[in-house]
């Protein structure tokens, strides 16, 4: 079964929603849920059998567009399909309390988001990556402004403005690449990128860094993130921090490893990532709004992933992939729990966690926070430990210090929050959580613990994904670069 179905099916279901809505009131919800489950089955079935192969579109590479499915991209495809399926499962029960008014539009955006994030991860043609960059962007802008309240509209407006500027810089970089290299295929570009004159290489890299920097939430370019997280509803924030940021992170570093395999700018990027983690954690300390606080913690964790990826060696990338997995699952738990707590409308203060009257939700949120903190026996610890080890091995002790300090700062406010979990203060009315929602939470929490206890199960899978990502030569041979 070819990997193009991962993109073609969600697009088909997106275009066909008026037909699907004929099958009863919630026809769209159940059909797209079934489709997502089928894709998840497809991804899991591919995990065991895959040796990287090329999926061509209408004409063989290096001329036309082609998709490369290797264990690195498959890792991300599995995460995205798994998380979106659980998201739809959660939403099916959530919509009884607080439905999005015209719900078919919500599911169209969800399917388009799934198709574009998988497209970003699989595509091996730089202009095709720009098109998926836009599809993921535009569905995220509408999802964040979905509720049409003033703060949601302001969040959507700011997200759209930064996204439009980012895409202008990305088109500038693609134009320069085509003018100097003459091809759009990543394999052909990676072969002749080294031969370009030095200052053109620097210019293209800076433009790509600015273009992707907005979306990868790096220090100088992430001023908009916290407003967008606070403005849009918590349900949608789970998608932002769980799926979209990870797709952009992977694409940026996939391109970086192909264009600059010798890692000329990796030292600069490592320091950039470390500084942005430090700044994100420091500013996050004095936040009182819950959504804003978790937005800053997302910034910090994404910066840590950026730093680990920027190391450009096997241990660094393996650590980054571990943190990607742990952070996505933990942030999914936290933002979905926030949706259940606040019912989405008013932005809630930290203290409201004290009156949370649902021991089940408290336990689940506690597990997610411990994993984000990096406490042993949880998935977060494995990632952070590997990252710190890779910094130490490379002898980058300044970076090691910065990361340790920012993790300590992060643990201050996470311990404060988990302290609220145990407090006996007065309780509000009992919060009832649907049974399928409970299954979703338990499944996610179980995964966090399972990976924490037995990381060796997936560490070799992530190890050879790291090797495949670093190996630019075999990538271009496979694509038959000219």
């Amino acid at each position: 079964m070819s990997s193009i179905l991962f993109i073609a099916l969600p697009l088909l279901f997106g275009f066909a929603t008026p037909i699907l809505s004929k099958f009863g009131k919630n026809g769209v919800a159940y059909t797209s849920m079934l489709m997502q489950m089928f894709l998840l089955y497809l991804a899991i079935d591919l995990v065991s059998t895959t040796s990287s192969y090329v999926e061509i579109i209408s004409i063989a590479p290096p001329l036309g567009i082609s998709f490369v499915l290797n264990s690195a991209s498959l890792f991300f495809v599995t995460i995205f399909t798994f998380l979106i399926t659980l998201f739809s499962l959660y939403y099916l029960t959530h919509r009884k309390t607080d439905a999005y008014e015209n719900e078919t539009k919500f599911f169209i955006l969800l399917n388009m988001l799934l198709a574009s994030s998988i497209g970003l991860v699989l595509s091996s043609d730089i202009f095709n990556i720009y098109v998926f960059f836009e599809i993921a962007g535009i569905s995220a802008y509408i999802l964040s402004a979905y509720k049409k309240t003033p703060s949601a509209l302001e969040a959507g407006l700011k997200y759209l403005l930064t996204g439009a500027v980012a895409s202008v810089f990305l088109v500038f970089a693609i134009a320069l690449i085509y003018i100097n290299v003459g091809s759009l295929n990543l394999a052909v570009i990676s072969q002749s990128f080294e031969a370009l004159p030095y200052n053109i290489k620097v210019l293209i890299s800076i433009l790509l860094l600015i273009g992707f920097g907005f979306k990868v939430e790096i220090f100088p370019l992430n001023f908009w993130v916290t407003d967008v997280y606070q403005g849009s509803s918590a349900l949608v924030n789970a998608l932002f921090s769980g799926i979209i940021v990870k797709a952009y992170l992977f694409v940026f570093f996939h391109i970086l490893y192909l264009f600059l395999p010798s890692g000329e700018f990796s030292v600069f990027l490592v320091y950039l990532g470390a500084v942005s983690m430090l700044v994100a954690e420091i500013v996050g300390l004095k936040q009182t709004n819950l959504k804003r606080l978790f937005a800053y913690s997302s910034l910090g964790q994404v910066a840590l992933i950026f730093t680990a990826f920027a190391m450009q060696n096997k241990e660094g990338i393996q650590a980054a992939l571990f943190i990607v997995l742990a952070h996505s699952i933990a942030k999914f738990i936290i933002f979905l729990a926030l949706t259940s707590i606040q019912g989405e409308h008013k932005s809630i203060h930290i203290e409201t966690l004290k009156e949370l009257n649902s021991p089940f939700l408290r336990a689940i949120m506690l597990i997610a926070m411990f994993s984000l903190l990096g406490i042993p026996l949880f998935a977060g610890f494995v990632g952070k430990f590997l990252a710190l080890k890779s910094f130490a091995v490379e002898g980058m002790f300044v970076i090691l210090m910065i990361i340790v300090i920012s993790s300590l700062i992060e643990s201050v406010y996470y311990f404060k929050l988990s302290g609220y979990m145990f407090s006996k203060g007065k309780k509000r009315e009992v919060l009832n959580i649907g049974s399928t929602q409970k299954i979703v939470f338990v499944l996610l929490a179980f995964l966090l613990i399972f990976i924490g206890i037995a990381p060796f199960m997936i560490s070799n899978f992530l190890g050879d994904s790291a090797n495949i990502l670093l190996d630019a030569k075999s990538y271009s041979d496979m694509l038959g670069g000219v």
Partner: protein, 125 residues
């Protein structure tokens, strides 16, 4: 009378200088203007400057448009069609994002009456 302007190199320099100046006019507008619609206009100007740069540097003066018919069948003296195809998509995507942005600005103005980007702070209070 200005014969020297017709050489390929001179045209490429004119195109580069012109589109880069246009790009920075758009960037200048983006950074300094406050009205939300003027910011969208500056982004549209930046985009069109990139498109002009792209086509300007990849076209050859003595080649013809890449359209074959029974008289022009010799493919060697035709311009490269791939930048044209990319631009077709990029122009329409740019317009779609701007249309969406304008609709956000209209709705936001209907609810709060604000068009100044600095006054937009619903989150603070």
């Amino acid at each position: 009378m200005f014969e020297f302007l017709n050489q390929q190199e001179v045209i490429k320099t004119i195109v580069t200088i012109g589109s880069m100046v246009l790009f920075f006019v758009g960037l200048f507008g983006l950074l300094t203007r406050k009205h939300i619609i003027k910011i969208f206009i500056s982004i549209a100007i930046m985009e069109s400057s990139i498109f002009l740069l792209f086509i300007g540097l990849t076209f050859n003066t003595d080649f013809i448009a890449p359209i074959l018919d029974n008289t022009h069948v010799n493919v060697s003296n035709m311009n490269d069609p791939v930048p044209h195809a990319m631009l077709l998509t990029a122009i329409v995507i740019g317009m779609a994002v701007l249309a969406l942005g304008v609709s956000f600005a209209i709705e936001y103005f209907k609810l709060t009456g604000k068009t100044d980007i600095n006054e937009m702070n619903e989150m603070k209070h």
